[in-house]
Subunit: 119 residues, 2 copies
């Protein structure tokens, strides 16, 4: 379960769209909120967002803290603090990631990251 969550951040750091594609369920019901963005619904718009981020000026590095996973049946949610390196100041986002288990394993169905403003 936590392996699926780590795979998300590894694909993000590696700017690897194929690996990111493997992480996600490819459906209309998936959604993704990047910090400060409107919510994106459906795999098509989510994959486009990662393409845009991965072709951006610089890669992002995450130091993950406070990671906690809960599993109920074939659904799981992980909460984690994303300590983001990549600009001078750095930033922290609080994330919730939801996964659903299919025959291939755990697939991400929701990612929502909220920037922490008051440290």
């Amino acid at each position: 379960m936590l392996r699926a969550n780590r795979a998300f951040y590894e694909a993000f750091e590696a700017q690897d769209l194929d690996a990111m594609s493997d992480v996600w369920e490819h459906s209309e019901r998936v959604c993704c909120t990047h910090p400060g963005w409107r919510r994106l619904d459906g795999w098509a718009s989510i994959s486009a967002s990662f393409y845009a981020i991965f072709t951006g000026p610089q890669p992002i590095q995450f130091i993950l803290t406070g990671e906690r996973a809960e599993v109920t049946g074939d659904t799981a949610w992980v909460v984690v603090d994303e300590n983001i390196l990549g600009d001078d100041a750095g930033a922290t986002a609080s994330a919730v990631n939801v996964f659903v288990r299919d025959h291939r394993g755990w697939r991400m169905v929701a990612h929502a990251a909220s920037q922490v403003i008051n440290q």
Copy 2:
């Protein structure tokens, strides 16, 4: 399912801590991220945060849009846009709410709201 989600926002608008308490699972695994805040873990710190918010200067009103619910077994997640009235400018947050079904019905186990900066 959507009724449980609406009950959360109704309790929030009514500043009703008892109603908010009924919405949530009372456990250590629950978590809550208010926009801009660090994540709060466990019902004790979450209830304290709502007490602080409800005794604050003014009530908050929500206009909910883009609400979508997905149920898998006894777990569900709802995504919704919170259009927040309460100051001059207003604000929008993108929220993910996770619920687990127990013998009493659906209980919130995670709430994460991320402020939309780039409208």
